[in-house]
C-alpha cells in the first residue's frame, strides 16, 4: 500500500497562556487548566495564515522526501476550516510556492477538524490507484474561538504535511478506516465569524463515539490490539479528550505521549492529529506501529495504521522536529496583542 515519503510540520512561535485569557473574562484559570488539561496555546501572528503554514510544513516534508521533484506531485490537498478565502483555493498558492504548478490537481477540503486526515486519505488513494507518483496532503488551521467561549482557551494554529508515494517510504499505510454519522455537535454557518458548538453534547455522542467507532473498526480490520502499537495519536480538541479515549480503549500514556501536544499547543483543528503524527514520526524507530485517529465535528473519524520503515533514521533530522517548534523559543503574548493578532478588535475601516 502507499505511504508517507516525506513529512513535516510548522507552528507559530507565539503562545498565550490560559491565565491570560481567563483574567479578561473572569474565568477560573486553574479549573479551565484542569478541565481542558491545557496550559497554553499557539497563536498565529498577523502575517501567518493557513496558506503560509501549509507552505512551510510542505517544505519540511520535501526536505525529508529524498529529493521528490515538486513537478512530480500530482495533487495538493489542503484540509482546513480556516482557508483564507471563502472563494479562491489555498492549494494553488501552495502549489505555486512549491513550484508544483501547472500540471497538478488542487482541492481544498473542509470537514471541521477532520479536513486534514481527509486530505491524507484521498492523497493515499490516488497513489494506491497509481494515478500519480506522489500526492501531497496538508492539514492546517488558524482556528478561531469566540471571545469568552471555552473554545477560546484551545483554538490554536499549526500545520503538518505528508507527501504520499509508493516507493522510498518512511511509513507504510497498512490499513485505513473511516467512521461517520450526521452529528450536530459543532458548526459555523456561512458569514459567521466564529463557530458554535453543542457544549457537553460534543463529548460522548460526538468525539468519543466516533473516535472509538473508527478505532475499534480499524483494530478489527487489522487484526490488532492496542498493545500491538508503539504509539497512538487521537484528535486533540484539548488535552483531556485524547488521553481519555486512549486510556479507555486500552492504550497507555506512554503510547500517546510523543503525539499528545494539546497541553501546550492547543487545538490545531485539522492539524491536530496530523501534527501529532509528525511529532511521533520524529522519535519513532524502524518497525514501529502507529495508530492515528482524527475527529471532525459533523462528524467523523479517519483512522490509519502506519508501519515505520528503516528510512526514518535517514530523514528525521533533515528538517526541524515538531517538538522543537513546540517547546523552544516561544514568544508569550498578552490578551491585548492576541486580540489584535486575531482581529477581535473593531477598528474604523
Amino acid at each position: 500500500m502507499a505511504g508517507i515519503v516525506g513529512y513535516g510540520a510548522h507552528l507559530p512561535r507565539h503562545r498565550i497562556k490560559v491565565e491570560e485569557i481567563a483574567k479578561v473574562w473572569g474565568a477560573d484559570a486553574p479549573s479551565y487548566k484542569k478541565g481542558l488539561m491545557l496550559r497554553e496555546k499557539s497563536v498565529p501572528p498577523p502575517d501567518m495564515d493557513t496558506i503560509t503554514l501549509s507552505v512551510e510544513a510542505a517544505k519540511n516534508a520535501l526536505r525529508r522526501s529524498g529529493g521528490v521533484d515538486p513537478k512530480d506531485i500530482g495533487a495538493i490537498y489542503i484540509g482546513s476550516e480556516s482557508h483564507p478565502y471563502a472563494v479562491k483555493p489555498s492549494g494553488t498558492t501552495v502549489a505555486e510556492a512549491l513550484g508544483a504548478t501547472p500540471d497538478i490537481h488542487c482541492a481544498d477540503f473542509e470537514f471541521a477538524c477532520k479536513a486534514g486526515s481527509e486530505a491524507m486519505f484521498v492523497a493515499l488513494s490516488h497513489v494506491d490507484a497509481k494515478a500519480m507518483p506522489y500526492a501531497l496532503a496538508i492539514a492546517a488551521d488558524t482556528s478561531q474561538g469566540a471571545p469568552s467561549d471555552a473554545l477560546e482557551f484551545s483554538a490554536a494554529a499549526g500545520a503538518a504535511a505528508f507527501i504520499m508515494g509508493s516507493k522510498n517510504l518512511i511509513a507504510d499505510c497498512l490499513f485505513t478506516h473511516s467512521y461517520m454519522t450526521d452529528m450536530p455537535d459543532f458548526w459555523r454557518r456561512e458569514h459567521q465569524f466564529y463557530p458554535q458548538h453543542g457544549g457537553r453534547f460534543t463529548g460522548e455522542e460526538a468525539y468519543f463515539a466516533h473516535t472509538k467507532g473508527a478505532t475499534s473498526a480499524i483494530l478489527k480490520k487489522a487484526g490488532m490490539k492496542p498493545s500491538d502499537f508503539n504509539y497512538a495519536i487521537f484528535h486533540q480538541p484539548n488535552g483531556k479528550f485524547p488521553q481519555r479515549v486512549a486510556l479507555e480503549q486500552g492504550f497507555t500514556q506512554e503510547q500517546i505521549d510523543p503525539g499528545w501536544l494539546a497541553p501546550t499547543l492547543g487545538n490545531t483543528y485539522s492539524g491536530a492529529s496530523p501534527v501529532g503524527l509528525s511529532a511521533t514520526l520524529d522519535i519513532a524507530k524502524p518497525g514501529d506501529m502507529i495508530l492515528m485517529c482524527s475527529y471532525g465535528s459533523g462528524a467523523g473519524s479517519d483512522a490509519f495504521v502506519w508501519k515505520v520503515t528503516d528510512r526514518i533514521d535517514e530523514v528525521r533530522d533533515l528538517a526541524v522536529r515538531t517538538k522543537k517548534l513546540l517547546d523552544e523559543n516561544v514568544i508569550y503574548i498578552d490578551y491585548g496583542t492576541y486580540a489584535k493578532y486575531r482581529h477581535k478588535i473593531k477598528k474604523n475601516a
Binding site: D47, M48, D49, T52, E56, A97, E328
Partner: protein
C-alpha cells in the same frame, strides 16, 4: 496604496520561489530576475533558486508604517546577504525590533505581505525571521 494583484501575480517566481538569474559570463546572480547583465551586456543565463538563510547587513526600524502594515509597527526592514552572496531587502517578522543586530542570522519564511483590506486579494512572499534552529 496596496500592490495591484496583477503585478503581484507577475512577480510570483521571485516572491514565492526566490527565483533569480545567474549570468554565464560574469557568474553574477541578480534578484529579481534580469534579462541582460547590466555590467557585461550578457544575455546567456540560467535560473537559480536562492538559499533560504543569510545574515543581516543593515536594517532600519519602521515606527510609522504605511496603512497596510500599520498594525505591525514597529518592525524592521533588513538588507540580508544570503549564503550565496546575494543581497535582498525584506521585512523582519517574529522579531522584537530591539533584538535586531547587524550580523544576526536569519531564515526566509513564506508569509502574508499585505492584503487589499478585508475584502481584497492577499499578497504572499518572503520575510526574514531570526534563525534559531
Amino acid at each position: 496604496m496596496t500592490m495591484f494583484s496583477s503585478r503581484n501575480w507577475r512577480e510570483y517566481p521571485h516572491r514565492y520561489r526566490l527565483e533569480a538569474t545567474k549570468f554565464t559570463k560574469s557568474g553574477k546572480t541578480y534578484f529579481p530576475k534580469r534579462m541582460v547583465d547590466p555590467v557585461t551586456g550578457d544575455t546567456e543565463q540560467e535560473m537559480v533558486t536562492l538559499p533560504e538563510t543569510g545574515k543581516v547587513i543593515t536594517y532600519t526600524i519602521i515606527q510609522i508604517a504605511p496603512p497596510q502594515w500599520g498594525d505591525q509597527a514597529p518592525y524592521a526592514l533588513a538588507v540580508v546577504e544570503l549564503t550565496d552572496g546575494t543581497r535582498l531587502m525584506a521585512q523582519m517578522t517574529d522579531c522584537d525590533t530591539t533584538k535586531v543586530k547587524i550580523g544576526m542570522e536569519v531564515r526566509i519564511e513564506f508569509r502574508k505581505i499585505q492584503a487589499e483590506a478585508d475584502h481584497g486579494v492577499i499578497s504572499y512572499g518572503y520575510k526574514f525571521v531570526p534563525k534559531w534552529y
